[in-house]
């Protein structure tokens, strides 16, 4: 370990082009040994592309990489791993039916033929202990929660002798306590002289964990290797977005009206047939945003699907303005004025190969003037789509292009345009800003608040606490299919505890 004298990684003048875009445009990056280096930027800024170059997945169009002073020619991830560079991707690359140890050994030259798993189990366990990565080497991947699976990915890299660990948005899938644990692990790695490159767009986490920060915007470096202590979240945000950012969207004070959505003692199963909702009840009033916090997989998706009629409830009742929604009837829910911004924009919220017009009329094609008896008036549909495209600023060459060509932010604007255009009484929005860049997030949040002002009831399901507290009138926490508690004031610690199952009564947070 040569420490500060020898940079672990030096990338010089890296260029990577994709058809029509320069994803990375002459970027320099220097990472020292023993530091946590945050790579900050909006979605599409080129962070992941740059790191995929470093991990050997992409070949740069120009530029050079030196690893510890030696020129490196990275032709494949294997080359990168040989040089001690490993990457943990956002989507894990694990074999579900195999054990932790088997996953870690996969693709290695040792063991050669006989596995002698017992010995390797021990090695994996020892390695885990050294870095505080607690996971049972004998467990099969499907038995592990997301946080544990991430630890397996990190172990996989450490086992391969990784000195520079690249982590792509590692906190997106974790609960606050798990994030703390991850940060401790990363620190224990840097203590041993290893380096961590931490890709993120979350300022709070970057300020918390990073030693130095490099900011990318539109494929270029806007700040290289800033010392964390010499900067501030506001400055980083400005560097990232290119203008100063309001951290808070303005929310007008208003009195909620009558109850629009009443969920009463709902039970429902998940896709595997296991109970996901266990007697959940909540209410949302007109002109009110109810934020629902929780770690992914605690029944949020199922709740949104039951309310919008996509999933049948096994028992319980859902009322929209006093009218019962028939079990699992999506059309009834739509007709009662329930709009749905689904979690999965491409899998549920849009038809990728159909035109923007076809995607925008999804909830309207049954109504005049688009519907003309059994026919569809293409002229009316196009006019409708053209209006929405303009009003919601959906950037696309025309309304005839397939939806798959839209960027994430544009696709979300399309979905919101469609859902808001029905003038909903209730809007169920699941992770509406996930994966969007800061500018698009602001747009989406403003649109949601505009709906609140026009008197819609909004159920906002999110894993972003910042967003929940910024937009919601009340925040409830879901844990294992039940409401674990509710609050009106911002109390992160309490929410964090409830998210992990520490049950807290509503009155305790309200009584402050």
């Amino acid at each position: 370990m040569q420490g500060e004298l020898c940079p672990a990684i030096e990338m010089r003048g890296i260029v990577k082009r994709f058809p029509g875009v320069v994803a990375v445009d002459y970027v320099d990056l220097t990472v020292h040994a023993g530091e946590i280096h945050a790579l900050l930027g909006e979605n599409g800024a080129g962070k992941s592309t740059l790191m995929n170059v470093l991990a050997g997945l992409y070949r740069p169009d120009a530029g050079q990489i030196t690893v510890c002073g030696h020129r490196a020619d990275l032709r494949s991830p294997r080359d990168a791993i040989d040089l001690g560079i490993g990457m943990v991707h956002q989507h894990f690359m694990l074999v579900q039916s195999q054990t932790v140890t088997e996953n870690i050994l996969l693709g290695l030259d040792e063991p050669r033929f006989f596995l002698r798993l017992a010995a390797y189990h021990q090695r994996v366990a020892r390695l885990g202990e050294r870095f505080g990565l607690h996971v049972d080497p004998r467990a099969r991947i499907w038995q592990l929660c997301v946080g544990e699976q991430q630890r397996v990915e990190i172990l996989k890299m450490l086992y391969r002798g990784t000195d520079v660990l690249i982590m792509d948005e590692p906190t997106a899938v974790l609960a606050p306590p798990e994030i703390e644990e991850l940060f401790r692990t990363l620190r224990s790695m840097t203590r041993e002289g290893k380096s961590v490159i931490f890709i993120s767009h979350k300022l709070r986490e970057v300020m918390q964990v990073a030693d130095r920060v490099t900011v990318l915007r539109k494929g270029r470096v806007t700040a290289a290797g800033l010392d964390k202590d010499a900067t501030s979240a506001e400055e980083l945000a400005r560097l990232m977005v290119g203008r100063s950012v309001l951290f808070r969207v303005e929310k007008a004070a208003q009195k909620p009206g009558q109850v629009v959505l009443a969920v009463d003692d709902i039970h429902a199963d998940n896709d595997k047939g296991l109970p996901a909702l266990r007697g959940l009840s909540l209410q949302v009033r007109a002109g009110e945003v109810l934020g629902l916090a929780g770690i992914a997989g605690n029944g949020q998706r199922e709740l949104a699907e039951v309310i919008t009629g996509l999933r049948p409830a096994t028992s319980g009742r859902i009322m929209i303005q006093g009218q019962k929604i028939e079990n699992g009837r999506t059309l009834t829910a739509i007709q009662r004025g329930v709009s749905h911004v689904p979690e999965d924009r491409t899998e549920v919220g849009s038809a990728p190969n159909l035109s923007l017009t076809d995607n925008l009329i999804m909830k309207h094609y049954r109504r005049e003037p688009i519907a003309q008896g059994w026919a569809i008036s293409q002229a009316a549909a196009n006019a409708w789509a053209g209006d929405l495209k303009q009003a919601y600023d959906i950037v696309a060459p025309s309304i005839d292009v397939p939806a798959r060509l839209l960027s994430g932010g544009n696709l979300q604007r399309l979905i919101l345009a469609r859902e808001i255009a029905t003038q909903p009484r209730l809007l169920v929005a699941v992770q509406p800003t996930r994966g969007l860049d800061v500018g698009a997030i602001e747009d989406v949040q403003r649109l949601l608040l505009a709906q609140r002002e026009s008197g819609a009831a909004i159920l906002l399901i999110s894993e972003e606490l910042d967003e929940l507290f910024a937009l919601s009138d009340r925040v409830a926490v879901i844990y294992e299919g039940q409401i674990a508690g509710e609050m009106q004031t911002e109390d992160r610690e309490a929410v964090g505890l409830m998210m992990t199952g520490e049950r807290r009564q509503k009155r305790r947070s309200e009584g402050q």
Partner: protein, 375 residues
């Protein structure tokens, strides 16, 4: 830091072929041009094979062209061959549009022919029935029988999620055996594997029937079924692209979860589409039996039902393109009679299919040849 040890030298090719996904929509002229180029490439490959087996590709292709488009008479024969293919191709495009893999058009075609025959042979209507009524009854009975043959796998798929590929395929064999039972045991004429010839009022009108008024039509066997095919193509086009039902079909086909999210009943549409698809294939059977064969017999289809699958794909599921592609395939079937060995036109069909489907890559990806810079 671990550094690399001795690195293996690898052979370097100075050029690299990269496939990059297209982020922009392709211009409107490109898809037909690419398809055309694919057909040309397929013919070139076919030519190489013809040379290898000792044939002359130029004279072979010229012969095929002459044999199917050379004169009014042979062109009429091409149209006759194309007629059932159009209807069956439409049946497949409709089902495939919803990603229902109906490969049972052959069976639906057979049962359609059976349905039409029952009107004449059972008989459901007396022989003296006026021609329009007789034909109408045959069309209704045959289409309904085909629709029923599509309904069975449709219901199984919709209600029990039984794989429609298996059920439609199996129903083909049942349909064929079913027909043979009636051909041999019930309606056999003198023990031969065919029924008696239908009376004239059960024949679809042919151009030749009007030779007295229009001398040019003398000997032309093109029949009313062609008009059904073209009307059906226009109708199916309108349904798919301009109707609410067609919108639902396209949405389910592209993303069933989005369709469900939009409140579209998938079960009902699965059953309906399979029925319509079966009905169209059944109509093809009616058209063939009352327009060409004029009797109920075993060998009424040289695999029209399967050709329809290929045609639907080559037409990229566009009903109007189905008509054009069917003409090409009608001519290839016709050429099979003229060219020995008759496997050659089938071979060409196969190569065309491969080429056209493979050419889709060019519409989705940009192929780029780049010079590799030495690092």
């Amino acid at each position: 830091m671990s550094t690399a040890t001795v690195r293996k030298r690898r052979i370097r090719i100075p050029y690299r072929i990269a496939m990059e996904p297209r982020l922009e929509p392709v211009p409107a002229w490109m898809p037909p041009l690419v398809s055309l180029a694919a057909v040309a490439a397929a013919l070139a490959v076919g030519a190489v094979i013809l040379v290898l087996v000792g044939g002359n590709p130029f004279s072979t292709y010229a012969h095929i062209a002459r044999a199917s488009f050379g004169s009014l008479g042979v062109f009429s024969d091409t149209l006759v061959k194309a007629t059932p293919i159009i209807l069956v191709g439409l049946a497949c495009s409709l089902a495939f549009r919803m990603r229902l893999w109906n490969i049972g058009a052959e069976g639906q075609f057979m049962i359609g022919a059976f349905g039409a025959s029952t009107v004449v042979l059972a008989p459901l209507l007396p022989e003296s029935t006026p021609r329009p009524l007789m034909l109408l009854a045959m069309i209704v009975a045959g289409t309904a029988a085909g629709a029923l043959w599509g309904l069975i796998p449709g219901v199984l798929k919709a209600k029990l999620n039984v794989n429609e590929i298996i059920t439609t395929l199996m129903l083909n064999y049942i349909a064929i055996s079913w027909n043979y039972f009636f051909i041999f045991a019930v309606w056999s004429e003198g023990g031969f594997e065919m029924s008696r010839v239908f009376p004239r009022n059960a024949w679809l009108p042919r151009l030749a029937d009007y030779a007295q008024q229009v001398p040019l039509f003398r000997g032309l066997t093109t029949h009313l079924g062609l008009v059904f095919g073209i009307l059906a193509a226009v109708l199916v086009w309108f349904v798919i692209y301009r109707s609410r039902w067609g919108y639902e079909i396209r949405l389910i086909g592209d993303n069933p979860r989005a369709a469900q999210y939009a409140g579209i009943p998938i079960v009902r549409n699965t059953i309906l589409v399979m029925m319509f698809s079966g009905g169209l294939a059944g109509l093809a059977g009616v058209s063939e039996i009352s327009g060409v064969v004029h009797r109920f017999q075993g060998t009424i289809s040289p695999g029209y039902g399967f050709t329809g699958i290929i045609v639907a794909w080559l037409a990229k599921l566009n009903p109007l393109a189905v008509v054009v592609v069917s003409l090409l395939f009608g001519s290839l079937i016709l050429a099979g009679r003229e060219i020995q060995p008759s496997g050659i036109p089938k071979l060409i069909q196969g190569i065309i299919l491969f080429a056209v489907i493979a050419s889709d890559v060019l519409l989705r990806y940009r192929i780029r040849l780049s010079h590799v810079q030495e690092a």
